[in-house]
């Protein structure tokens, strides 16, 4: 696969102060690490310290978490206000009540209200609650999303099809350190009376990141 042409190194402070600096995608330098990883994997297999089945098992464990796990938590919160409050109080503990163990960090759940809309971004890399939701989508990792969501969130949300009225506060959460974030979207009408199985498919990955809201 061709590697995108290299870009000149930038002074980091220039990134912060020059709003006109274009966002540049690309993974310059990553080919070295990809090659090293492949070489190391091969050596470990040759020395019989690792089997292909071991690698498969790890990949399967990484791929098991998915959006429906997060959706299950949201559906529970929509049906049970006491649970929603416990979720906001201590996300990891409330997730564990339903059997979901957030392994990589503490889970912080931020709740949307008629006057507040939350959106998650990791400007520094691509921090995401992977042990709950699986791997992040491509756009979440893109430099475009990461650079612009903190700076012009309403414009980014509009590009996702979400136009928010000025009365609603937009709160951006930069997932830059030891917490991981999940948005608790506002429920559809009558959610409290509907069965969990009916609610789960209504929750999308975009809603859990805050780039969409429940339709209608």
């Amino acid at each position: 696969m061709p590697i995108p042409s290299t870009v000149p190194p930038t002074r980091f402070s220039a990134d912060a102060i020059d709003p006109n600096r274009p966002v540049i995608e690309g993974h310059h330098g990553a080919e070295y690490y990809a090659l090293m990883t492949e070489a190391l994997h091969k050596i470990l297999l040759e020395k019989q310290l690792l089997t292909l089945a071991d690698t498969d098992r790890v990949i399967a464990a990484l791929e098991a978490p998915n959006v429906t796990w997060g959706a299950r938590i949201v559906a529970e919160a929509w049906r049970d206000e006491a649970y929603a409050q416990r979720l906001v109080e201590d996300g990891s503990k409330a997730a564990a009540e339903l059997g979901f163990k957030i392994k990589e960090a503490k889970l912080v759940v931020v709740r949307n209200t008629p006057s507040l809309h939350n959106v998650i971004v990791c400007t520094l890399c691509s921090c995401y609650p992977r042990s709950l939701l699986g791997q992040p989508p491509w756009w979440y990792i893109s430099k475009n999303y990461r650079a612009r969501t903190v700076r012009e969130p309403r414009k980014v949300l509009a590009e996702f099809g979400l136009e928010l009225p000025a009365e609603v506060e937009v709160r951006v959460h930069d997932s830059n350190a030891d917490m991981r974030y999940l948005v608790l979207p506002m429920p559809p009408p009558g959610a409290a009376e509907r069965p969990v199985e009916e609610l789960i498919p209504l929750v999308t990955r975009h809603m859990l990141v805050g780039t969409a809201v429940v339709a209608g």
Partner: protein
């Protein structure tokens, strides 16, 4: 006992640490309000160099007004941004 409590006004200092640290430039020298204490965690600026990063450092979520972070911010004045900041990057404001 954490140095700051929710509601405290704090300013992010610039420690001029080299490399990929967790505190982005857009919050340096900016003033915000502590939203919560997140616990204490090994210092990532030490972990990144293979050192233990202990004792753990208090971590806070700090809320900033977008219009303060970006003087040309296009949205309403009540829009905010929250980000995690380690204790040693904060001073009382």
């Amino acid at each position: 006992m954490p140095r700051f409590q929710p509601g405290d006004a704090v300013r992010v200092v610039d420690l001029h640490k080299p490399g990929h640290v967790r505190i982005p430039f857009f919050v340096r020298h900016k003033t915000g309000v502590v939203e919560r204490h997140c616990g204490a965690y090994p210092n990532p600026e030490e972990l990144g160099h293979g050192r233990p990063g202990l004792p753990p450092v208090d971590l806070y979520r700090v809320n900033f007004r977008q219009a303060h972070l970006w003087p040309d911010y296009a949205g309403p004045a009540h829009d905010t941004l929250e980000i995690e900041v380690y204790d040693h990057w904060l001073v009382p404001a």
